[in-house]
């Protein structure tokens, strides 16, 4: 009885409670969803791959008998008593880093897909554990223990690598701040006896990578049937090197491998009470970001000693340690006529009080006095919302919501009339110090849905978004949104959805002096707050004429116009289309495919001019840039029937091609020279997965997977011909480039059920 009630509570709570204070449902920690998203090593990543046409899956893990492992009905079905052990062998032609951007595909012994569950015979407890990619950089471990009706304890450990490059090289001899260069070469370049080319032979190759290691533990306790108490702790260690730019002035920039080692600790505590008709939740969230290396000192590649025109070394602030504390409360109440009111409040306190670095470390310059010793950066954040859902009549449903969000900047004003630019020279601050940006948002929305034309549901909705800003060019913006949608539901074999949105945003309280102060064109409008009209349509149809066939079509188009933005973004457009088909039958055959097309465009206008009024105000110096991106994505999969009694296979193929073009135009007959158009950029990724499994004994199966993955790319900003031939050595760069690769990867393993 307690378990049934708990399950019901869990369903209700999961609808309304973002804080995971769940009565007795198995803790839905992120780790579990991550685990569940990879059911088989060769599972296609296609977003439109259909339902796996296998016989009905085995019963959920909670019902699995604890004593003996079940023989799966299919070799690709996961059980809770299994592991895979074998070897991985890969051949990579080209860039191995890009192939392993977020994964570790090195050769070696592979122990993965470990699943174990134990449930007490009387059903009073359940333990589960998983392990994947053991010993590799992307290893992942999960464990849960549930005492039915009492508590759930769960945890995970996950490594997420990010492999940037094997092409990187740097003459900097240290890997932590200060980043040092050999003094003799610095001096030689300073004295004109050498050029930046001198650094090239002094730059050994290194692998540029970073990773996140995330550890998480949580518990949910249910002291009474009405009360849940929850706690979570997550610690994320982020370490490695990042490609990072620094500069000592125009025309000279230095790319370094930024050393990074930070830790973020998050603590969540909450309690939730419910009687099924009302719910009240209170919670505390604390987050601490600790970055002991929040200052970067780096040698100049062009000189050794400080001077009044250039330094021998630079100093930059990195991300400061900070904290965020949030107290929140939420709840719902149910009323007659299937009406529910839900609300939430939260109060956040954000803080960064790191010591301020000096204005410069250039000893040849006069040091400017700091406005204060520490940042004293504070923000108070308030959020509140109320949602009402009601079905007073069988054919009518109404929803309304009101949301308020305030970001209040509590940082004390700091007078900074001057600053040191590039550690090189003292410059006047156009604003006299930091502008204390703050903003607030009030959002109202209401929808009415009529289902009298069953199976069709028609919805009309209105929304109003009001925003106010401190120190933005508009003091406030207001937007009206009209939404119309039609859904077909409950009809045999057909589901349909079409949605149209019309929105109109207008700014008020224009203060173009802020633009003028910063040297911007006064007719420029920042597109995130500029006047805007939006038209957007999306639609989707799914048709299942028989149990075997499923067809789907979807598409969308839309345009954002910025009618009063003489400079800046003028408009953006999108077009999307997708089609898919899936077939499955009783023989075990499953096949499907999908095609996706996306096209995005953006038109922006600017004026290429110096600050003198003759140029600054000359409209014949205007230019536009029209950016277009298209993406074609194609995916197919085949799951053939069993080959004999003991062999099964899966094959999938994914193809993605993305292309970007940029068209510059200038005023005909104007003073600007005709632009030399940028080359097209593109990337093409193909993935062929083949996964074959053969049962040797009832408990043992041979699993062979093959991945063929060619990647082709051209991006002028990262192409080796540009970075190695043009950029370097005029600038000191790491050599981080975009390179193609072709990877062939095999995994041969034994899958054992125990």
């Amino acid at each position: 009885m307690r378990r049934l009630l708990a399950a019901h509570l869990g369903c209700c709570l999961s609808l309304v409670a973002p804080v995971l204070v769940c009565a007795q449902t198995t803790a839905v920690a992120p780790s579990e969803t991550l685990t569940a998203s990879a059911p088989a090593p060769a599972a296609p990543a296609s977003p439109t791959a259909s339902v796996d046409p296998q016989p009905p899956a085995e019963a959920s893990p909670q019902a699995t008998p604890a004593a003996a492992p079940e023989e799966p009905k299919g070799l690709f079905e996961q059980t809770w008593h299994q592991f895979q052990i074998g070897g991985r062998f890969s051949s990579i032609n080209g860039d191995p880093a890009r192939f392993q951007r977020y994964q570790d595909m090195r050769d070696g012994l592979l122990f993965t897909d470990f699943r174990y569950a134990f449930e007490a015979p009387d059903g009073t407890s359940l333990f589960r554990a998983t392990a994947d990619n053991v010993g590799f950089r992307d290893q992942h471990y999960v464990a849960n223990y549930e005492r039915t009706g009492r508590f759930v304890v769960s945890g995970f450990w996950q490594g997420i690598p990010q492999f940037y490059s094997v092409d990187t090289a740097t003459p900097y001899t240290t890997t932590v701040s200060p980043l040092l260069l050999p003094d003799d070469t610095q001096l030689a370049i300073q004295n004109g006896q050498a050029t930046l080319s001198a650094w090239v032979p002094l730059a050994p190759q290194f692998d540029l990578m970073e990773r996140r290691d995330v550890g998480h533990v949580s518990f949910v306790a249910t002291p009474t049937v009405h009360l849940d108490v929850k706690g979570e702790f997550t610690s994320t260690h982020h370490v490695g090197g990042l490609p990072w730019g620094q500069s000592f002035g125009f025309g000279n920039n230095t790319e370094v491998a930024l050393p990074y080692d930070s830790r973020t600790n998050d603590l969540k505590l909450g309690t939730e009470w419910t009687n099924g008709h009302e719910m009240l939740r209170v919670a505390y969230d604390g987050s601490w970001f600790n970055n002991p290396g929040s200052t970067l000192v780096f040698d100049s590649p062009i000189r050794l000693t400080d001077s009044t025109s250039a330094p021998g070394r630079g100093q930059s602030a990195l991300w400061p340690s900070n904290s965020a504390q949030t107290i929140s409360a939420g709840g719902f109440a149910k009323f007659a006529h299937r009406t529910q009111l839900t609300g939430a409040l939260s109060f956040g306190f954000w803080n960064n009080n790191e010591p301020l670095d000096p204005f410069t470390i250039n000893s040849a310059l006069t040091q400017l006095p700091l406005p204060r010793a520490t940042a004293e950066a504070d923000a108070h954040v308030f959020s509140g919302n109320v949602n009402l859902v009601s079905r007073p009549k069988p054919d009518w449903q109404f929803t309304a919501r009101l949301r308020e969000y305030n970001y209040n900047n509590e940082t004390p004003a700091a007078a900074i009339p001057q600053y040191v630019s590039y550690d090189t020279s003292i410059s006047a601050s156009p604003t006299g110090g930091p502008l204390l940006f703050a903003h607030s948002t009030t959002t109202f929305g209401a929808d009415a849905t009529y289902t009298g034309f069953h199976p069709l549901a028609l919805t009309a909705g209105y929304g109003r978004n009001d925003n106010s800003y401190d120190f933005r060019t508009f003091a406030s913006t207001g937007e009206n949104v009209l939404r119309l949608s039609a859904d077909m539901f409950g009809s045999q074999g057909v589901t349909f959805r079409a949605k149209y949105e019309l929105a109109d945003r207008t700014g008020s309280g224009l203060d173009d002096s802020l633009l003028i102060t910063m040297g911007e064109q006064p007719d420029m409008r920042q597109y995130d707050i500029a006047d805007r009209t939006r038209n957007k349509f999306t639609g989707q149809v799914d048709f299942t004429p028989t149990e075997q066939w499923m067809f789907s079509l979807s598409g969308g188009l839309g345009k954002d116009n910025y009618p009063n933005s003489y400079f800046g973004l003028q408009d953006t457009t999108f077009r999307t289309f997708s089609a898919g088909v899936n077939y499955s039958d009783d023989t075990g055959l499953g096949v499907g495919g999908s095609y996706n097309f996306e096209r995005y465009g953006g038109l922006q206008q600017s004026r290429s001019a110096k600050s003198d009024p003759a140029q600054f105000n000359d409209p014949t110096r205007n230019w536009t840039a029209d950016s277009t991106e298209t993406v074609n994505y194609f995916s197919i999969y085949v799951t053939p029937p069993k080959f004999g009694p003991s062999t099964e296979a899966r094959v999938s193929y994914d193809f993605s091609y993305a292309e970007g073009t940029y068209l510059y135009t200038v005023v005909p007959g104007g003073p600007l020279p005709a632009p030399s158009q940028l080359p097209k950029v593109y990337n093409k990724l193909q993935q062929l997965h083949v996964d074959v499994r053969h049962r040797i004994t009832p408990k043992l199966a041979l699993a062979v997977t093959y991945l063929y993955e060619p990647f082709r790319v051209y991006d002028f900003a990262f192409d080796p011909s540009v970075i190695n031939g043009i950029a370097q050595p005029s600038s000191l760069v790491l050599g981080y480039v975009y390179r193609p690769y072709t990877a062939n990867s095999w995994t041969i393993s034994l899958r054992y059920l125990f």
């Binding site: 973002p18 977003p47 893990p61 790319e255 950066a377 970001y407 920042q526 800046g568 600054f616 994505y633």
Partner: protein, 170 residues
């Protein structure tokens, strides 16, 4: 519920991503982007890493953490949370002004590549409003056209805690 296709959570399809793709095909396709994406297709993240599909009463877009897009993103990218001495307005207000959280063909998941992205809001005289065409690469060898473009110099683009960080170069 009686014949779930997934190992856990009784989903109607084998993976969570496939369930979401039934209706949100565009967003899921973006996670497959070759150049810039979250580690969804590698299995390190999923839709529910950021979204609560059953609802969220405290945040927009069914985001599961915090009360705004910024709070959701900085729950993992806490280094951007600040607050900073020198703030960059779009960073403080909404990460999606510059980034597409589901994936992009542009480095760092930007909605459009640099310098075009920056030039949508910055039209000041001299270099912010210059045309960076192919000559900027091949003839002028401009450091604003290769690698991280504008961020080669304006590296603290998410905000700076340095007294000399007004233009995010320190």
């Amino acid at each position: 519920m009686h014949s779930p296709k997934s190992v856990e959570h009784q989903l109607v399809k084998p993976t969570q991503t496939q369930v979401c793709a039934t209706c949100h095909r565009l967003e899921v396709t973006k996670t497959e982007r070759a150049v810039a994406h979250m580690p969804v297709r590698e299995g390190a993240m999923s839709c529910t890493s950021c979204h609560n599909p059953h609802g969220s009463i405290s945040n927009v877009k069914l985001l599961k953490t915090g009360s705004s897009v910024v709070e959701q993103c900085t729950s993992c990218h806490a280094e951007m949370r600040g607050p900073m001495l020198w703030e960059h307005e779009p960073v403080r207000e909404n990460c999606t002004t510059c980034h597409d959280p589901h994936g992009s063909s542009n480095d760092r998941m930007l909605v459009v590549r640099m310098p075009m992205l920056c030039q949508r809001c910055h039209v000041a005289s001299s270099h912010p409003s210059s045309i960076y065409d192919n000559n900027a690469i091949t003839v002028n060898k401009s450091n604003r056209m290769f690698g991280r473009s504008c961020v080669n110099c304006h590296s603290n683009i998410h905000g700076s805690n340095h007294p000399s960080g007004q233009f995010f170069m320190r």
